[in-house]
């Protein structure tokens, strides 16, 4: 294990501890500290989970686009891997956002889906777009081209996120009371809880990304070692490890 690898796994451990603490504190504050909202009561508490999930997922998509720009500029496969992991994790957080949003809509407006909530509708469109990221990636055989095409997609889609929000927001008449209108009008206790939840979810995102990255790096190294073994002894077949990792990361020994 090299020094950078050891430092990496150490910082990942610290990050995991910090995330656990933050998520614990956030959950505690959501249930015991934040006051009940007058209109929606207990149901409103899903706001502390739904909105941070959405914000973190959207930021993850945009960050994936920024990493993709880095990849196209430097041509280093690690940037592509980071872009891939950021978008992959944002998709998972996006599923969480859609599910929590749906539950909230059912509870407060009586329908599992409402078209009058522009943020939720925009989110669905962005989610549908990013859902094609992996099909696009894995429909390209050549690892170098796969990384390049995925980066082009990530940049375009990253720019699409704000554009789409503008268009959908303009198109929606505000029929429902808006709780998502920003934190400025929240009572201080609610605002504090919201900020802590946001930090907790963001930490969770970073930790999970780091974990996935380190898993992919390890798998790449293992593959490289297998190849080297196979070169020494042609009797050992090179077994391809099943993985969803971007092929660009494969270390060709």
């Amino acid at each position: 294990m090299s020094r950078t690898q050891r430092a990496r796994s150490q910082s990942l451990g610290l990050l995991a501890v910090a995330t656990t603490l933050a998520v614990g504190v956030a959950l505690g504050m959501i249930f015991f500290y934040a006051p009940l909202e007058a209109e929606q009561g207990f149901l409103q508490k899903i706001f502390y989970l739904h909105v941070p999930l959405a914000i973190v997922a959207l930021c993850g998509f945009v960050v994936g686009g920024v990493f993709a720009i880095q990849h196209l500029r430097t041509r280093e496969s690690r940037w592509d891997l980071r872009s891939y992991v950021a978008i992959h994790m944002s998709l998972i957080f996006g599923v969480g956002t859609l599910i929590t949003g749906s539950i909230w809509a059912k509870g407060s407006w009586g329908h599992w889906w409402v078209w009058s909530e522009p943020t939720l509708v925009s989110f669905l469109i962005v989610f549908l777009l990013y859902a094609t990221y992996q099909p696009l990636r894995f429909a390209i055989e050549d690892p170098e081209r796969q990384a390049r095409y995925a980066s082009v997609f990530a940049i375009t889609a990253g720019a699409f996120v704000p554009m789409n929000f503008i268009a959908v927001r303009l198109s929606t008449a505000y029929l429902h009371p808006r709780v998502l209108g920003g934190t400025s009008n929240l009572p201080p206790q609610m605002a504090l809880t919201f900020m802590v939840s946001l930090i907790a979810i963001a930490l969770l995102f970073v930790t999970l990304c780091r974990l996935e990255l380190s898993a992919k790096r390890t798998r790449g190294r293992l593959r490289a070692l297998r190849r080297r073994l196979a070169e020494d002894d042609p009797a050992i077949p090179v077994r391809r490890i099943r993985s969803a990792a971007p092929a660009g990361h494969e270390v060709h020994a």
């Binding site: 390209i140 095409y149 082009v152 375009t156 789409n164």
Partner: protein, 260 residues
């Protein structure tokens, strides 16, 4: 499919100076050859594109026929003899968009299959020219589609007459077409050299074009209403902003799709 194979070969042979493949003269003269200007390159590529289309008649007529068929489907699907306002705008834009996807899926097929990409990359020209030429070609196909589809829509489904909408509707359609052309070209290039290209083209293009549908439908709904009024300026502005932002982004990232 077979039409491409049959027709594309004689075209490449017949117009070597206009197509993307370098001519014998260029190859012989080596590095001293003068780089053609951007506009000349775009012109040559667009000329080649339109000539292929005129000989094969693959994109624009197919798209138009598809649009008319979809209007018939809408008639039966909605069980309505006539529509107006929001409904009319929605049917028109969704139909145009679905027809556009057909054109988008075909846009780079010949280049991917017949070595057009390789030929273009060998030519000493700016790569952005291919993007501009393809986007212009797609724009022309879309305009041709609308020349058929909009009158057909007025004839088959639209309740108010098209007359009052006429001064503004072409402007709204053109703004929408520009957005479809730039995003369509980028998506077509992304999907062209993948497995499952037809599927990916549609899957990538449709979510990206949602703002165009929103802007286009909202801008044309008042035009197609029973008592026609002007297109709201903010939707024209949204469409214009979309065209500008994605035109620049697509032009900037297109080069990276053409490296091998």
């Amino acid at each position: 499919m077979s039409a491409v194979v049959e027709d594309a070969t004689p075209i490449e042979g017949a117009t070597p100076t206009e197509s993307a493949t370098p001519t014998g003269a260029e190859r012989r003269s080596g590095p001293t050859v003068r780089r053609p200007s951007f506009a000349a390159t775009v012109g040559a590529l667009l000329h080649k594109e339109l000539r292929v289309e005129l000989r094969t008649l693959e994109s624009a007529p197919g798209m138009s026929l598809f649009a008319v068929t979809v209007f018939v489907l809408f008639h039966f699907g909605l069980n309505k003899n006539s529509v107006s306002g929001d409904e009319a705008a929605g049917i028109l834009w969704v139909t145009l968009l679905l027809a556009a996807v057909l054109g988008i899926n075909r846009l780079f097929v010949a280049d991917a299959e017949e070595g057009g990409f390789d030929g273009f990359l060998l030519a000493p020209v700016d790569r952005g020219a291919l993007f501009v030429a393809k986007a212009l070609a797609l724009l022309i196909y879309l305009l041709a589609l609308e020349l058929v589809a909009v009158p057909a829509f007025a004839l088959l489904l639209l309740q108010p007459s098209l007359g009052p909408a006429l001064p503004q509707l072409p402007a709204v359609l053109l703004l929408g077409d520009l957005g479809v052309a730039v995003i369509g070209t980028l998506v077509a290039a992304l999907a062209a050299r993948t497995r499952a290209r037809d599927l990916l083209g549609a899957l990538l293009a449709l979510p990206l074009l949602v703002p165009v549908v929103i802007g286009g439908a909202r801008a044309s709904a008042p035009l197609l209403a029973m008592h026609s009024s002007g297109a709201p300026a903010r939707w024209l502005a949204t469409l214009g902003l979309y065209d500008l932002v994605f035109g620049l982004i697509a032009y900037a990232v297109f080069d990276f799709l053409l490296e091998d």
